[in-house]
Symmetry: D4
Subunit: 226 residues, 8 copies
């Protein structure tokens, strides 16, 4: 019988998660040494079959890890390392972002979503201060199975898109902006207080969290349409 | 051509929403006069075909409105008024709540979800301070298409369930508890900071918001399986 | 020579303000006894020539004051008492509000603006969750000399209108909503963090403050076009 | 027909804004690469006729951009890049600042206002702890069409000037000070809670926002006097 | 030897404080039963010789206590009960308040200061939005031994007076105002962030605290001039 | 007679604490110069007999101090310097941590507990998102005399363990995580709002504080079993 | 085999807790109907052998419940209902409170501790503003096995006692005080930031939580001394 | 006639302050260039007769300024530059600090107080966790004309000293500590919520502010005893 967790001393790798949730544990790279990342990635590759991801990886760490564990790919814009990416499935996610400064978070969302097998389209720079830019994308938005909305400052894009589409909307507040933006807290609170019904919110700057929420949605659709 | 909105002076009823999002506008009852509620409900019933809901309705207001607009039903535990509820579909939602004090919010989530056609199961009093109560429900949780987690105080139930199930988890922080609970703010923040990947969060005490998030997902499944 | 201030013991009425700023001191009614309001209003009527306003007046106080000081008018929806309202001038203000719950604040803004001589148009229930309702009013908005935007919850309407019109936009956050709305703090912060350039913000629920800001604008236009 | 927006991949430049709001989109330089700034500026210069501005530009970025896009001017004190500045019009703005530490924000306000064609006068170091310094400037303040008040710490200057002048007052809280100043949050809240009626507030350190608010007003005056 | 404290079961009355600090313990009336107040007051009257004060006393409680403990006086405006008030000494305190709503706190400061033997002058309604009202009182302020400044909203009066006078300035933030005033927190923070050097601050609405601070200073003067 | 405190000019070393509380004063290394640390450590070693500890010591400081004061040991993972560690006693502490990022704080707790004579077992990476990992450790947890729970993000591990064990639980919130975690404030509040009865909390990242709380308990056990 | 939990529909009573943690689940009375309390109490009495407690019970609810479930006792000062209180054991708890206003919380702590079998001594009104009152109790404090410190306002008593005694100190912040006390948040934060090593903190006003923490301590001592 | 202010372009030096408040304007050095400091200091030395101070000066800036403006003295521990210090007068200030980390702020308070002519005594490391250290200084404290209390973390020292002495107590919260200390905010709030009557508070880390408050007190005493 396969072990449920492999204890590396500094980490207890949850190798059972693939069986339980359809995806191996995703590694949060920030604050781990390159050696720790290598150890965890090797364990996941050995004990699981699916995609292995490490988020928030700086370039120099990526270089070290890729040298030690072959066949991985690094996406610098998303700060993501991936081994064995999933084949793109039929579940379509649109990642819509409000401004140029929100792009790194949007890229993380898109790259993680792609690596776990979702189909990804990106729509950038559609902040509500220029509604015509948003409305020009209405058709593309309306075909999505899920929209991930990435917005900092006042986060109003989540409300606007929530009213335009019928599908699930996952809002990611970002820490862009300054002063009253409170490093993303204002956007997070505003998205919760939104007048658009049924939108949900993940942690500040967590493109990863939004992609995983979409992955959970895709699994249900997959199960129901199998 | 049908109008997009009907202006009642005090409100501009979005009668186009049913076409746009698959469900008529849901009326937020709090702060509206009984007469205003009657006016909006009549407009929605006339211009749409689907279920009409009013949330956060006190009993005396419900009585007045039901007398004026026949064929509605009032659910006192959920403070919800419903006309023309949808037929239950095949999409299964489990509403899991942490403690007795969280029940009113859980009831709102369950009643709204039921009224818009989702299949609802409830699991109550499974707070993490008694993990065996939660684990005893693991099977029921694992069959859900979506789990709505309702928890106040420290909101830890969302993390625990997020790690147990593979389906979407929508967390509703509640304002139960006292002191450091900060009337739900602590639970809201804690749910966002959760170590469980891909759970999403709605506003404090918003059982309604969670149900609508589930409804959006059910629509995608419906569209994909049509 | 006219006195600069009249000391009533409990208040020092700034009777010079009309000369200094073009409008007598406006009385903040909340927390004052009916007798105090009567005393201040009489002093202002005697020492000034322009409109005299008392804001935040409950109906029973209004009744008492009107009985003691004739020729005033009470607007219950705006909780405003007015004597000697100004003639409507050519400066056009549009008061746009996001939802039904924001109406009391919008009414205060409109009533104060009207009483000091501005031309007022109201546009209600144009929240960003239904953008078509907002866009349908674009022409009316574009003719305004100033738009006052009244919105609670996430306050996104300010950003949206800020991007649509070229004229000054004064945003009023309201304390409507619940939970993460933090009784208007979230909307206030969000309006400040807005991605729309050049919009300005006043205190929570201060329809009065927004109207006075518009009055200052109108005075400049008046002076420059005189 | 002119395009509404030009998509550069990393940004969707709103080239229609000049037609819509009388001024091309202003570029927020912080967080953009020099290459991105060059791309956006070129697009704006090509598709619009008015002034092109980039705010929050560090000297080394400015040098790179000016080498690539000729005929621009860099104002280091205001961290502003400008191409095709507008001719000074008749609308007079006074930028009043409370202390030496508020000067960078005041300079941004003044430089942006000047670049978009407003007439600018500056009044520095008139904090309320030395009222005679403020009162000595009363005449200059009273001739303004708009006063921009730049103040950190407790932000009391906004209230004092709000009571002295009849024209619009736009308050800019700054992040100067320490401890209880909370990096500008205290000044922002205090300016909103001000006892002076009709003053409005923009985001912390946003000299740019205040200048744009003044520009909106100047446009109305211009339109009315045209 | 006199006892240091008298234990009444519900309270341990610090009867030594008169010897230690020159004034018997002052009783905080809020939250105590009338019977508890009677017990503590009797103990203080018996074991000490100086003035005995109870703050924050509602009228009905005052009536009960005065019936049980004769020779006391109730000041309803200040909500203060006093027995054996001190003779007025030569130390002069000016209590300056910003608005009508600040009067109850100003009255508490003045009444407590008077009861412990300070000479009190009051200056009301001198908020900074009407600087001429404040400047008209400059002479009276300059003769004070200490100025107590009572102000809510943005609390700017403390900075202005701090710059006008050379004597100690004790600032009392009040909970008047609404919205961004945060029930006095904004004024408290703003007074701390003040640009006027050497002003000190006490708790929100604590007219009592300010009066006691002045009493401490008067004692030093008394000791030095004895 | 031994002195109660030794004054080094920059510090007044509490050499009486060993007699009063069973352990010499523990030195907080952060913000002290190496020379100051040397001076305090020498004083403690001279005037006391028990273990001497310095927390939060960076490697370069440790090297300097160890060169000056022989016979000490530096634990880099815990940033702890120790002289004369206590013999391990029979009181058993389990230090359980939620994730890899919480390890430095867990190490400080374990190292301090060990140095003052407690028996320490560590259980790592048992966050509630993988309950089976936690439940697999239930037996080890149930034999503890005290469990120290180290967890950041939402801090849910404290509630879960609080419900599993009967012994004292001391929760240490950590500043790991980002965004809504608010650098440990969210975990601290959540642990206080916990639904598990009788768990207690120490300051953010204070592994030291938790170990000292356990030491206080061990002393009671020791005294009772002596 | 005994059931782990009994499902009453509105609550799932954790009847296994007595076996797991040595004490039946304690019922939090606030927000439950009298009928719900009766149902839960009956279940606990039937399935367990130890003391049954209900906290936060108002007098009218207590009367109803006691009529339905005989042999209970109501302590009005502590708002506590108890059936089958434990025999007092040898573990001694001192409950020390800072002021009269903290008494209700201190009473809850004392009553709960007594009902679960701890020996309780109370020390009242020993706030740090009268250190001699505190020092007079030093001997009584030094004999305690645990000290529960109940203090609102600035919560300084926890630090002072933490430095005086060697045993465990559990601090309970209370919501007494006003203004800057922030309804207990200030005391909670201050107790965490305390300079006294090894004190622990429970939720605001949670006399119950502190008593349960002491119960956990007593169990360890009991087990070790058995 | 002497000018009221001298305009240096970047600053408007308040040269009238010496006449108005008995001391030239004190220069806040942080954020000013060395050249600006030189310019202001020269202006003050020329137009005033009293001591000239610059606070928050880093060593390299001090060196530059002293080279340009002779006869000044730099106190590195207090980061203070002084020219023409006042003769020590008879007013005695005790600066008491809680821990070693509070020393820099205490030194600023002591150095500024000394430079403006107050008699200064320092008492260090008397935190309330070791009350005997504080009580050993009681005599020295009781002879003070004013006590400045410098304390971070929970700031409890202010309450303890406030209860021990009868003279004015000025509390300075410091930003020492970590986690729940919130960089001084907790100490500031706790000092305001203090149970000791009549203590006053200045801004976080503002040793300067406390010294200036003492200077104001000394002036009154001087005037009254002249």
């Amino acid at each position: 019988m396969a072990p449920e967790a492999v204890d590396l001393g500094f980490a207890r790798v949850d190798v059972d998660r693939e069986a339980r949730q359809g995806l191996p544990e995703v590694v949060y790279g920030s604050g781990k040494t390159p050696e720790q990342v290598v150890g965890i990635v090797r364990t996941l590759l050995r004990h699981n079959d699916g995609p292995v991801l490490v988020t928030r990886v700086e370039p120099e760490v990526a270089e070290f890890v890729l040298a030690a564990v072959p066949d991985g790919v690094y996406d610098g814009g998303a700060r993501l390392l991936v081994w064995r990416p999933a084949e793109p499935g039929g579940f379509g996610v649109v990642v819509a972002s409000a401004g140029t400064a929100d792009l790194p978070v949007a890229r993380e969302a898109a790259a993680v979503a792609g690596a776990v097998g979702l189909g990804v389209t990106t729509v950038t720079d559609v902040g509500v201060a220029g509604l015509h830019r948003l409305l020009a994308e209405q058709e593309r938005l309306s075909t999505a199975d899920t929209v991930i909305v990435v917005a900092g400052m006042e986060g109003a894009l989540a409300s606007a898109i929530g009213g335009l589409v019928a599908c699930p909307v996952v809002a990611v507040p970002t820490s862009t902006g300054y002063g009253a933006g409170l490093e993303g807290i204002t956007a997070l609170l505003a998205m919760h207080a939104s007048c658009a019904a049924g939108i949900t919110v993940v942690n500040i700057d967590s493109g990863f969290g939004a992609a995983m929420a979409a992955f959970r949605l895709a699994r249900v659709v997959g199960r129901r349409t199998a």
